[in-house]
Amino acid sequence: MGEVGFKTSGMTVNWIGLWTIIRREVSRLLRVPIQAFIAPWVSALMFIFIFGYVVGPRIASIGGHKYLEFVLPGILMMNVVNAAFLQATSHVYFQRFMKNIEEVLVAPLSYVEMIAGTLAAVVFRTAATAIGILAIAAVFGGVKVVSLPEFLFWVVVVSGIFGLLGIVIGLWAKNFEQLTVLNIFFITPLSFVGGVFNTVAMLPPWLRWLAWGNPFFYFINGLRHSMIGFNEAPEPLGMVLSLTLLVILSVWVWRLFSVGYGLRE
Protein backbone atom coordinates (compact mmCIF):
# COMPACT_ATOMS: atom_id res chain seq x y z
CA MET A 1 0.00 0.00 0.00
CA GLY A 2 1.06 3.54 -0.63
CA GLU A 3 0.65 6.50 1.65
CA VAL A 4 -2.48 6.58 3.75
CA GLY A 5 -4.95 9.34 2.89
CA PHE A 6 -5.37 11.38 -0.25
CA LYS A 7 -5.32 15.11 0.01
CA THR A 8 -8.84 16.29 -0.69
CA SER A 9 -9.27 19.44 -2.72
CA GLY A 10 -9.22 22.73 -0.83
CA MET A 11 -11.83 22.93 1.89
CA THR A 12 -13.16 26.26 0.63
CA VAL A 13 -14.84 24.76 -2.45
CA ASN A 14 -14.62 21.09 -3.41
CA TRP A 15 -14.60 21.82 -7.17
CA ILE A 16 -13.90 18.23 -8.16
CA GLY A 17 -16.77 17.04 -5.97
CA LEU A 18 -19.09 19.67 -7.41
CA TRP A 19 -18.15 18.73 -10.97
CA THR A 20 -18.68 15.06 -10.12
CA ILE A 21 -22.27 15.71 -9.01
CA ILE A 22 -22.91 17.36 -12.39
CA ARG A 23 -21.20 14.78 -14.61
CA ARG A 24 -22.82 11.92 -12.70
CA GLU A 25 -26.27 13.40 -13.24
CA VAL A 26 -25.55 14.10 -16.90
CA SER A 27 -24.47 10.48 -17.26
CA ARG A 28 -27.77 9.36 -15.68
CA LEU A 29 -29.71 11.58 -18.08
CA LEU A 30 -27.89 10.19 -21.09
CA ARG A 31 -29.08 6.73 -20.03
CA VAL A 32 -32.71 7.89 -20.53
CA PRO A 33 -32.54 10.27 -23.52
CA ILE A 34 -36.08 9.57 -24.73
CA GLN A 35 -37.59 10.48 -21.40
CA ALA A 36 -35.22 13.39 -20.69
CA PHE A 37 -34.95 15.10 -24.09
CA ILE A 38 -36.95 13.50 -26.89
CA ALA A 39 -40.31 13.60 -25.05
CA PRO A 40 -40.33 17.39 -24.48
CA TRP A 41 -39.07 18.01 -28.02
CA VAL A 42 -41.88 15.89 -29.51
CA SER A 43 -44.44 17.59 -27.26
CA ALA A 44 -43.16 21.04 -28.29
CA LEU A 45 -43.18 20.00 -31.94
CA MET A 46 -46.87 19.13 -31.65
CA PHE A 47 -47.69 22.46 -29.98
CA ILE A 48 -45.68 24.40 -32.55
CA PHE A 49 -47.26 22.51 -35.43
CA ILE A 50 -50.86 22.86 -34.23
CA PHE A 51 -50.76 26.39 -32.85
CA GLY A 52 -48.19 27.83 -35.19
CA TYR A 53 -48.91 26.10 -38.44
CA VAL A 54 -52.55 24.86 -38.33
CA VAL A 55 -54.37 27.34 -36.05
CA GLY A 56 -51.89 30.23 -36.23
CA PRO A 57 -52.54 31.38 -39.82
CA ARG A 58 -56.24 31.80 -38.95
CA ILE A 59 -55.45 34.15 -36.04
CA ALA A 60 -54.74 37.81 -36.62
CA SER A 61 -51.29 39.01 -35.54
CA ILE A 62 -50.79 39.89 -31.87
CA GLY A 63 -48.90 43.14 -31.30
CA GLY A 64 -47.62 42.88 -34.85
CA HIS A 65 -46.26 39.35 -34.36
CA LYS A 66 -47.25 36.08 -36.03
CA TYR A 67 -49.13 33.73 -33.68
CA LEU A 68 -46.24 31.23 -33.75
CA GLU A 69 -43.82 33.96 -32.63
CA PHE A 70 -46.23 34.91 -29.85
CA VAL A 71 -46.91 31.40 -28.64
CA LEU A 72 -43.34 30.01 -28.88
CA PRO A 73 -41.97 31.72 -25.71
CA GLY A 74 -44.89 30.26 -23.74
CA ILE A 75 -44.30 26.76 -25.09
CA LEU A 76 -40.60 27.14 -24.38
CA MET A 77 -41.24 28.36 -20.83
CA MET A 78 -43.65 25.48 -20.10
CA ASN A 79 -40.98 23.01 -21.16
CA VAL A 80 -38.22 24.78 -19.22
CA VAL A 81 -40.38 24.67 -16.09
CA ASN A 82 -41.22 20.99 -16.57
CA ALA A 83 -37.64 19.99 -17.37
CA ALA A 84 -36.28 21.86 -14.34
CA PHE A 85 -38.87 20.47 -11.95
CA LEU A 86 -38.69 16.88 -13.18
CA GLN A 87 -34.89 16.91 -13.23
CA ALA A 88 -34.61 18.06 -9.62
CA THR A 89 -37.35 15.81 -8.23
CA SER A 90 -36.00 12.71 -9.99
CA HIS A 91 -32.40 13.51 -9.06
CA VAL A 92 -33.20 13.86 -5.36
CA TYR A 93 -35.95 11.27 -5.01
CA PHE A 94 -34.24 8.46 -6.93
CA GLN A 95 -31.06 8.93 -4.92
CA ARG A 96 -33.11 8.71 -1.74
CA PHE A 97 -35.05 5.73 -3.06
CA MET A 98 -31.91 3.78 -4.03
CA LYS A 99 -30.07 5.12 -0.96
CA ASN A 100 -27.07 6.18 -3.03
CA ILE A 101 -27.65 9.67 -1.61
CA GLU A 102 -25.49 8.26 1.20
CA GLU A 103 -22.49 8.39 -1.15
CA VAL A 104 -22.89 12.18 -1.17
CA LEU A 105 -23.68 12.48 2.53
CA VAL A 106 -20.49 10.68 3.64
CA ALA A 107 -18.29 12.77 1.33
CA PRO A 108 -16.61 16.09 2.16
CA LEU A 109 -19.20 18.14 0.29
CA SER A 110 -20.92 21.21 1.71
CA TYR A 111 -24.68 21.70 1.45
CA VAL A 112 -24.09 24.59 -0.95
CA GLU A 113 -22.04 22.31 -3.23
CA MET A 114 -24.74 19.62 -3.14
CA ILE A 115 -27.43 22.16 -4.05
CA ALA A 116 -25.27 23.92 -6.67
CA GLY A 117 -24.41 20.59 -8.33
CA THR A 118 -28.09 19.63 -8.48
CA LEU A 119 -29.03 23.01 -9.95
CA ALA A 120 -26.21 22.90 -12.51
CA ALA A 121 -27.60 19.58 -13.77
CA VAL A 122 -31.05 21.21 -13.88
CA VAL A 123 -29.68 24.05 -16.03
CA PHE A 124 -27.96 21.53 -18.33
CA ARG A 125 -31.26 19.69 -18.91
CA THR A 126 -33.32 22.84 -19.40
CA ALA A 127 -30.70 24.30 -21.78
CA ALA A 128 -30.69 21.10 -23.87
CA THR A 129 -34.51 21.11 -23.90
CA ALA A 130 -34.65 24.79 -24.89
CA ILE A 131 -32.04 24.48 -27.64
CA GLY A 132 -33.93 21.54 -29.16
CA ILE A 133 -37.23 23.42 -29.10
CA LEU A 134 -35.65 26.51 -30.66
CA ALA A 135 -34.17 24.32 -33.40
CA ILE A 136 -37.60 22.79 -34.09
CA ALA A 137 -39.24 26.23 -34.10
CA ALA A 138 -36.55 27.52 -36.46
CA VAL A 139 -37.77 24.99 -39.04
CA PHE A 140 -41.21 26.66 -38.84
CA GLY A 141 -39.61 30.12 -39.04
CA GLY A 142 -40.76 31.29 -35.60
CA VAL A 143 -37.52 32.02 -33.74
CA LYS A 144 -36.51 35.52 -32.74
CA VAL A 145 -34.38 36.63 -29.81
CA VAL A 146 -34.24 40.40 -29.43
CA SER A 147 -32.25 40.35 -26.19
CA LEU A 148 -29.97 37.37 -25.55
CA PRO A 149 -28.95 38.46 -21.98
CA GLU A 150 -32.59 38.85 -21.03
CA PHE A 151 -33.43 35.49 -22.65
CA LEU A 152 -30.65 33.76 -20.69
CA PHE A 153 -31.75 35.52 -17.50
CA TRP A 154 -35.26 34.09 -17.76
CA VAL A 155 -34.19 30.58 -18.73
CA VAL A 156 -31.60 30.36 -15.93
CA VAL A 157 -33.67 32.05 -13.19
CA VAL A 158 -36.82 30.05 -13.93
CA SER A 159 -34.73 26.84 -14.11
CA GLY A 160 -33.34 27.75 -10.70
CA ILE A 161 -36.78 28.43 -9.19
CA PHE A 162 -38.29 25.17 -10.40
CA GLY A 163 -35.10 23.24 -9.72
CA LEU A 164 -35.29 24.37 -6.09
CA LEU A 165 -39.00 23.57 -5.88
CA GLY A 166 -38.20 20.16 -7.36
CA ILE A 167 -35.57 19.59 -4.67
CA VAL A 168 -38.14 20.41 -1.96
CA ILE A 169 -40.64 17.96 -3.44
CA GLY A 170 -37.90 15.35 -3.95
CA LEU A 171 -37.01 15.63 -0.25
CA TRP A 172 -40.63 15.63 0.90
CA ALA A 173 -42.07 12.82 -1.24
CA LYS A 174 -42.56 9.47 0.43
CA ASN A 175 -43.60 7.70 -2.78
CA PHE A 176 -43.69 8.17 -6.56
CA GLU A 177 -47.28 9.40 -6.46
CA GLN A 178 -46.35 12.41 -4.31
CA LEU A 179 -43.67 13.46 -6.81
CA THR A 180 -46.37 14.47 -9.28
CA VAL A 181 -48.64 16.41 -6.90
CA LEU A 182 -47.17 19.87 -7.50
CA ASN A 183 -46.97 19.32 -11.24
CA ILE A 184 -50.58 18.22 -11.59
CA PHE A 185 -52.25 20.70 -9.25
CA PHE A 186 -50.00 23.74 -9.53
CA ILE A 187 -47.49 23.85 -12.37
CA THR A 188 -49.59 22.63 -15.29
CA PRO A 189 -52.78 24.62 -14.53
CA LEU A 190 -50.94 27.86 -13.73
CA SER A 191 -48.72 27.61 -16.79
CA PHE A 192 -51.76 27.12 -19.06
CA VAL A 193 -53.52 30.18 -17.62
CA GLY A 194 -50.30 32.19 -17.43
CA GLY A 195 -50.49 33.53 -20.97
CA VAL A 196 -48.94 30.77 -23.05
CA PHE A 197 -51.62 31.00 -25.74
CA ASN A 198 -53.23 34.37 -25.13
CA THR A 199 -52.65 37.89 -23.91
CA VAL A 200 -54.13 39.20 -20.67
CA ALA A 201 -56.26 41.57 -22.78
CA MET A 202 -57.98 38.55 -24.36
CA LEU A 203 -59.28 37.43 -20.97
CA PRO A 204 -62.64 38.68 -19.65
CA PRO A 205 -61.96 41.67 -17.35
CA TRP A 206 -63.14 39.80 -14.24
CA LEU A 207 -60.53 37.08 -14.90
CA ARG A 208 -57.52 39.32 -15.43
CA TRP A 209 -56.62 39.32 -11.74
CA LEU A 210 -55.79 35.63 -12.26
CA ALA A 211 -53.01 36.60 -14.65
CA TRP A 212 -51.57 39.38 -12.48
CA GLY A 213 -51.46 37.09 -9.45
CA ASN A 214 -49.94 34.19 -11.35
CA PRO A 215 -46.12 33.95 -11.23
CA PHE A 216 -46.12 32.03 -14.51
CA PHE A 217 -47.51 35.09 -16.23
CA TYR A 218 -44.35 37.06 -15.30
CA PHE A 219 -42.04 34.23 -16.39
CA ILE A 220 -43.76 33.84 -19.76
CA ASN A 221 -44.11 37.58 -20.23
CA GLY A 222 -40.41 38.08 -19.47
CA LEU A 223 -39.27 35.40 -21.89
CA ARG A 224 -41.66 36.70 -24.54
CA HIS A 225 -40.24 40.19 -24.12
CA SER A 226 -36.69 38.87 -24.53
CA MET A 227 -37.68 37.01 -27.70
CA ILE A 228 -40.10 39.29 -29.57
CA GLY A 229 -40.17 42.49 -27.50
CA PHE A 230 -43.87 42.04 -26.62
CA ASN A 231 -44.64 43.05 -23.05
CA GLU A 232 -47.78 43.14 -20.89
CA ALA A 233 -46.22 43.89 -17.50
CA PRO A 234 -43.36 46.12 -16.33
CA GLU A 235 -40.20 44.10 -16.99
CA PRO A 236 -38.39 45.07 -13.72
CA LEU A 237 -41.40 43.92 -11.68
CA GLY A 238 -41.18 40.40 -13.10
CA MET A 239 -37.41 40.31 -12.63
CA VAL A 240 -37.58 41.46 -9.00
CA LEU A 241 -40.38 39.01 -8.18
CA SER A 242 -38.48 36.13 -9.78
CA LEU A 243 -35.19 36.95 -8.07
CA THR A 244 -36.97 37.31 -4.72
CA LEU A 245 -38.58 33.90 -5.20
CA LEU A 246 -35.21 32.44 -6.16
CA VAL A 247 -33.55 33.80 -3.01
CA ILE A 248 -36.38 32.63 -0.71
CA LEU A 249 -36.33 29.13 -2.20
CA SER A 250 -32.51 28.98 -2.03
CA VAL A 251 -32.53 29.79 1.68
CA TRP A 252 -35.34 27.30 2.28
CA VAL A 253 -33.54 24.48 0.45
CA TRP A 254 -30.24 25.27 2.20
CA ARG A 255 -32.07 25.11 5.53
CA LEU A 256 -33.64 21.74 4.62
CA PHE A 257 -30.20 20.35 3.71
CA SER A 258 -28.59 21.70 6.86
CA VAL A 259 -31.18 20.03 9.13
CA GLY A 260 -31.04 16.89 7.00
CA TYR A 261 -34.75 16.96 6.12
CA GLY A 262 -35.50 13.93 3.93
CA LEU A 263 -31.78 13.25 3.61
CA ARG A 264 -30.37 12.12 6.91
CA GLU A 265 -31.97 9.64 9.29
Binding site: E3, V4, G17, N100, E103, V106, A107, E265
Partner: protein, 249 residues
Protein backbone atom coordinates in the same frame (compact mmCIF):
# COMPACT_ATOMS: atom_id res chain seq x y z
CA UNK B 1 -1.83 10.58 20.86
CA UNK B 2 -5.17 11.76 19.42
CA UNK B 3 -7.50 8.78 19.03
CA UNK B 4 -8.81 7.88 15.59
CA UNK B 5 -12.35 7.98 16.91
CA UNK B 6 -13.81 9.28 20.13
CA UNK B 7 -17.56 9.03 20.69
CA UNK B 8 -18.84 10.68 23.87
CA UNK B 9 -22.36 10.30 25.29
CA UNK B 10 -23.85 9.77 21.85
CA UNK B 11 -27.62 9.74 21.83
CA UNK B 12 -29.79 9.21 18.80
CA UNK B 13 -33.55 9.44 18.82
CA UNK B 14 -35.27 8.97 15.47
CA UNK B 15 -38.11 11.22 14.34
CA UNK B 16 -40.47 8.32 15.09
CA UNK B 17 -39.37 8.61 18.74
CA UNK B 18 -37.32 5.39 18.72
CA UNK B 19 -34.27 5.63 20.96
CA UNK B 20 -31.53 3.87 18.95
CA UNK B 21 -28.39 4.97 20.79
CA UNK B 22 -28.49 5.86 24.46
CA UNK B 23 -25.42 7.64 25.79
CA UNK B 24 -22.85 5.52 23.97
CA UNK B 25 -19.17 6.33 24.57
CA UNK B 26 -16.13 4.61 23.07
CA UNK B 27 -12.61 5.36 21.94
CA UNK B 28 -10.73 3.76 19.07
CA UNK B 29 -7.00 4.42 19.12
CA UNK B 30 -5.11 5.23 15.94
CA UNK B 31 -3.87 2.07 14.23
CA UNK B 32 -6.32 -0.18 16.08
CA UNK B 33 -8.39 -2.96 14.55
CA UNK B 34 -11.54 -2.55 16.57
CA UNK B 35 -14.48 -4.95 16.74
CA UNK B 36 -17.87 -3.36 17.32
CA UNK B 37 -20.29 -6.13 18.20
CA UNK B 38 -23.90 -6.44 19.18
CA UNK B 39 -27.18 -8.08 18.27
CA UNK B 40 -29.38 -6.79 15.44
CA UNK B 41 -31.04 -3.52 16.44
CA UNK B 42 -28.51 -2.82 19.22
CA UNK B 43 -27.47 0.51 17.68
CA UNK B 44 -24.27 -0.43 15.79
CA UNK B 45 -25.36 0.79 12.37
CA UNK B 46 -27.00 3.89 13.83
CA UNK B 47 -23.75 4.76 15.62
CA UNK B 48 -21.86 4.29 12.35
CA UNK B 49 -24.42 6.44 10.53
CA UNK B 50 -23.92 9.20 13.10
CA UNK B 51 -20.13 9.00 12.70
CA UNK B 52 -20.30 9.18 8.90
CA UNK B 53 -23.08 11.77 8.56
CA UNK B 54 -25.85 9.52 7.26
CA UNK B 55 -27.79 10.17 10.46
CA UNK B 56 -28.04 13.35 12.51
CA UNK B 57 -26.82 13.34 16.10
CA UNK B 58 -29.40 14.04 18.80
CA UNK B 59 -26.75 14.82 21.42
CA UNK B 60 -23.17 13.95 22.33
CA UNK B 61 -19.94 14.44 20.41
CA UNK B 62 -18.00 12.52 17.78
CA UNK B 63 -14.37 13.29 16.98
CA UNK B 64 -12.42 11.72 14.12
CA UNK B 65 -8.67 12.21 14.62
CA UNK B 66 -9.58 15.15 16.87
CA UNK B 67 -11.90 16.74 14.28
CA UNK B 68 -15.49 17.36 15.34
CA UNK B 69 -17.60 15.24 12.97
CA UNK B 70 -20.64 17.52 13.36
CA UNK B 71 -19.18 21.04 13.45
CA UNK B 72 -16.28 20.41 11.07
CA UNK B 73 -17.98 17.64 9.14
CA UNK B 74 -16.22 18.09 5.78
CA UNK B 75 -12.76 17.70 7.26
CA UNK B 76 -13.89 14.73 9.35
CA UNK B 77 -15.55 12.97 6.41
CA UNK B 78 -12.43 13.22 4.27
CA UNK B 79 -10.72 10.99 6.84
CA UNK B 80 -13.34 8.23 6.91
CA UNK B 81 -14.23 5.44 4.48
CA UNK B 82 -17.46 3.50 4.89
CA UNK B 83 -18.46 0.10 3.61
CA UNK B 84 -22.13 -0.06 4.61
CA UNK B 85 -24.22 -3.09 5.32
CA UNK B 86 -26.68 -2.35 2.49
CA UNK B 87 -25.80 -1.93 -1.19
CA UNK B 88 -26.52 1.80 -1.37
CA UNK B 89 -25.51 2.37 -5.00
CA UNK B 90 -26.95 3.31 -8.36
CA UNK B 91 -27.64 -0.26 -9.48
CA UNK B 92 -27.55 0.69 -13.17
CA UNK B 93 -23.99 2.05 -12.95
CA UNK B 94 -20.84 0.01 -13.57
CA UNK B 95 -18.23 -0.74 -10.88
CA UNK B 96 -15.84 1.81 -12.40
CA UNK B 97 -18.50 4.54 -12.45
CA UNK B 98 -19.50 3.84 -8.85
CA UNK B 99 -15.94 4.04 -7.55
CA UNK B 100 -15.01 6.93 -9.83
CA UNK B 101 -17.94 9.10 -8.71
CA UNK B 102 -17.17 8.61 -5.04
CA UNK B 103 -13.51 9.37 -5.73
CA UNK B 104 -14.70 12.58 -7.34
CA UNK B 105 -16.85 13.49 -4.35
CA UNK B 106 -13.75 13.12 -2.20
CA UNK B 107 -11.95 15.61 -4.42
CA UNK B 108 -9.42 13.24 -5.99
CA UNK B 109 -8.09 14.61 -9.31
CA UNK B 110 -8.98 12.57 -12.44
CA UNK B 111 -5.51 11.13 -13.19
CA UNK B 112 -4.94 10.06 -9.60
CA UNK B 113 -8.45 8.64 -9.45
CA UNK B 114 -7.96 6.54 -12.56
CA UNK B 115 -4.74 5.07 -11.23
CA UNK B 116 -6.36 4.25 -7.92
CA UNK B 117 -9.43 2.70 -9.60
CA UNK B 118 -7.21 0.43 -11.73
CA UNK B 119 -5.38 -0.62 -8.59
CA UNK B 120 -8.61 -1.38 -6.71
CA UNK B 121 -10.27 -3.21 -9.62
CA UNK B 122 -7.24 -5.47 -9.83
CA UNK B 123 -7.02 -5.89 -6.08
CA UNK B 124 -10.62 -7.03 -5.84
CA UNK B 125 -10.60 -9.13 -9.04
CA UNK B 126 -13.17 -6.93 -10.72
CA UNK B 127 -11.36 -6.41 -14.03
CA UNK B 128 -13.56 -8.94 -15.84
CA UNK B 129 -16.71 -7.13 -14.70
CA UNK B 130 -15.88 -3.49 -15.36
CA UNK B 131 -18.63 -2.89 -17.92
CA UNK B 132 -21.42 -4.80 -16.19
CA UNK B 133 -24.09 -2.86 -14.33
CA UNK B 134 -23.97 -3.36 -10.57
CA UNK B 135 -27.34 -5.13 -10.55
CA UNK B 136 -25.95 -7.86 -12.85
CA UNK B 137 -23.14 -8.77 -10.44
CA UNK B 138 -23.23 -11.63 -7.94
CA UNK B 139 -23.50 -10.90 -4.20
CA UNK B 140 -19.78 -11.40 -3.65
CA UNK B 141 -18.82 -9.12 -6.54
CA UNK B 142 -21.22 -6.46 -5.29
CA UNK B 143 -19.54 -6.57 -1.90
CA UNK B 144 -16.14 -6.13 -3.55
CA UNK B 145 -17.37 -3.02 -5.40
CA UNK B 146 -18.64 -1.57 -2.12
CA UNK B 147 -15.27 -2.20 -0.50
CA UNK B 148 -13.37 -0.68 -3.43
CA UNK B 149 -15.62 2.38 -3.18
CA UNK B 150 -14.86 2.75 0.54
CA UNK B 151 -11.12 2.62 -0.15
CA UNK B 152 -10.88 4.97 -3.13
CA UNK B 153 -9.59 7.90 -1.06
CA UNK B 154 -7.33 5.79 1.18
CA UNK B 155 -9.19 6.70 4.38
CA UNK B 156 -7.32 6.88 7.67
CA UNK B 157 -10.34 5.38 9.45
CA UNK B 158 -12.12 2.57 7.62
CA UNK B 159 -15.55 1.58 8.92
CA UNK B 160 -16.81 -1.82 7.79
CA UNK B 161 -20.42 -2.63 8.59
CA UNK B 162 -20.73 -6.41 8.15
CA UNK B 163 -18.40 -6.54 5.14
CA UNK B 164 -18.34 -10.31 4.84
CA UNK B 165 -22.09 -10.96 5.03
CA UNK B 166 -23.05 -13.20 2.11
CA UNK B 167 -19.47 -13.47 0.89
CA UNK B 168 -17.88 -16.80 -0.13
CA UNK B 169 -15.04 -18.34 1.88
CA UNK B 170 -12.35 -17.42 -0.68
CA UNK B 171 -13.24 -13.72 -0.68
CA UNK B 172 -13.59 -13.71 3.09
CA UNK B 173 -10.09 -15.08 3.55
CA UNK B 174 -8.72 -12.74 0.89
CA UNK B 175 -10.45 -9.81 2.52
CA UNK B 176 -9.10 -10.70 5.95
CA UNK B 177 -5.61 -10.76 4.51
CA UNK B 178 -6.10 -7.41 2.77
CA UNK B 179 -7.58 -5.75 5.84
CA UNK B 180 -4.70 -7.06 7.92
CA UNK B 181 -2.22 -5.53 5.45
CA UNK B 182 -4.04 -2.21 5.46
CA UNK B 183 -4.11 -2.14 9.24
CA UNK B 184 -0.38 -2.91 9.43
CA UNK B 185 0.21 -0.01 7.02
CA UNK B 186 -1.52 2.38 9.40
CA UNK B 187 -5.24 2.37 8.59
CA UNK B 188 -7.46 2.24 11.65
CA UNK B 189 -10.33 -0.18 11.16
CA UNK B 190 -13.70 -0.34 12.91
CA UNK B 191 -15.45 -3.60 12.10
CA UNK B 192 -18.96 -4.75 12.86
CA UNK B 193 -19.74 -8.36 12.17
CA UNK B 194 -21.76 -11.28 13.43
CA UNK B 195 -18.88 -13.68 12.68
CA UNK B 196 -17.05 -13.93 15.98
CA UNK B 197 -14.25 -15.91 14.33
CA UNK B 198 -13.53 -12.82 12.26
CA UNK B 199 -13.21 -10.73 15.41
CA UNK B 200 -10.93 -13.28 17.09
CA UNK B 201 -8.65 -13.32 14.05
CA UNK B 202 -8.50 -9.63 13.27
CA UNK B 203 -9.44 -7.35 16.14
CA UNK B 204 -7.18 -6.17 18.95
CA UNK B 205 -9.98 -4.47 20.90
CA UNK B 206 -13.68 -5.14 21.14
CA UNK B 207 -16.76 -3.24 22.29
CA UNK B 208 -20.13 -4.88 22.71
CA UNK B 209 -23.23 -2.78 22.35
CA UNK B 210 -26.73 -3.70 23.52
CA UNK B 211 -29.84 -1.51 23.63
CA UNK B 212 -27.87 1.50 22.46
CA UNK B 213 -25.16 1.33 25.15
CA UNK B 214 -21.69 -0.15 25.40
CA UNK B 215 -22.05 -3.06 27.80
CA UNK B 216 -18.49 -4.36 27.68
CA UNK B 217 -15.25 -3.10 26.20
CA UNK B 218 -11.64 -4.24 26.28
CA UNK B 219 -8.78 -6.08 24.54
CA UNK B 220 -9.82 -9.16 22.55
CA UNK B 221 -7.66 -11.42 24.78
CA UNK B 222 -9.84 -10.56 27.76
CA UNK B 223 -12.89 -11.77 25.89
CA UNK B 224 -11.12 -14.98 24.89
CA UNK B 225 -10.34 -15.95 28.47
CA UNK B 226 -12.67 -18.44 30.13
CA UNK B 227 -15.46 -19.69 27.86
CA UNK B 228 -14.37 -17.64 24.86
CA UNK B 229 -15.73 -14.76 22.87
CA UNK B 230 -19.14 -16.26 22.14
CA UNK B 231 -19.94 -16.80 25.80
CA UNK B 232 -18.60 -13.35 26.68
CA UNK B 233 -20.72 -11.83 23.93
CA UNK B 234 -23.88 -13.65 24.99
CA UNK B 235 -23.23 -12.81 28.62
CA UNK B 236 -22.67 -9.14 27.90
CA UNK B 237 -25.76 -8.78 25.74
CA UNK B 238 -27.87 -10.76 28.20
CA UNK B 239 -28.81 -13.14 25.44
CA UNK B 240 -27.59 -16.45 26.82
CA UNK B 241 -30.16 -19.06 25.86
CA UNK B 242 -31.49 -21.06 28.81
CA UNK B 243 -29.92 -24.37 27.77
CA UNK B 244 -26.45 -22.75 27.52
CA UNK B 245 -26.89 -20.97 30.83
CA UNK B 246 -27.99 -24.26 32.41
CA UNK B 247 -24.98 -26.06 30.90
CA UNK B 248 -22.62 -23.38 32.19
CA UNK B 249 -24.09 -23.69 35.68
Amino acid sequence: MTPALRVTDLRKVYRSGTLAVDGLSMTVEEGDFFGFLGPNGAGKSTTIHCITGIATVTSGTIEVFGVDAVKDYRKARALVGLSPQEFNVDVFATPVQIVDWVGGYFGIPAAERKKRIDELMQRFDLTAHLKKPFRALSGGLKRRVILARALIHKPRLLILDEPTAGVDVELRLDLWRYLGEMNRDGTTILLTTHYLEEVERLCRNVAIVAKGKIVRQGPTEEFLEGDGLEAAYLGATGAIPDHIAAGAA
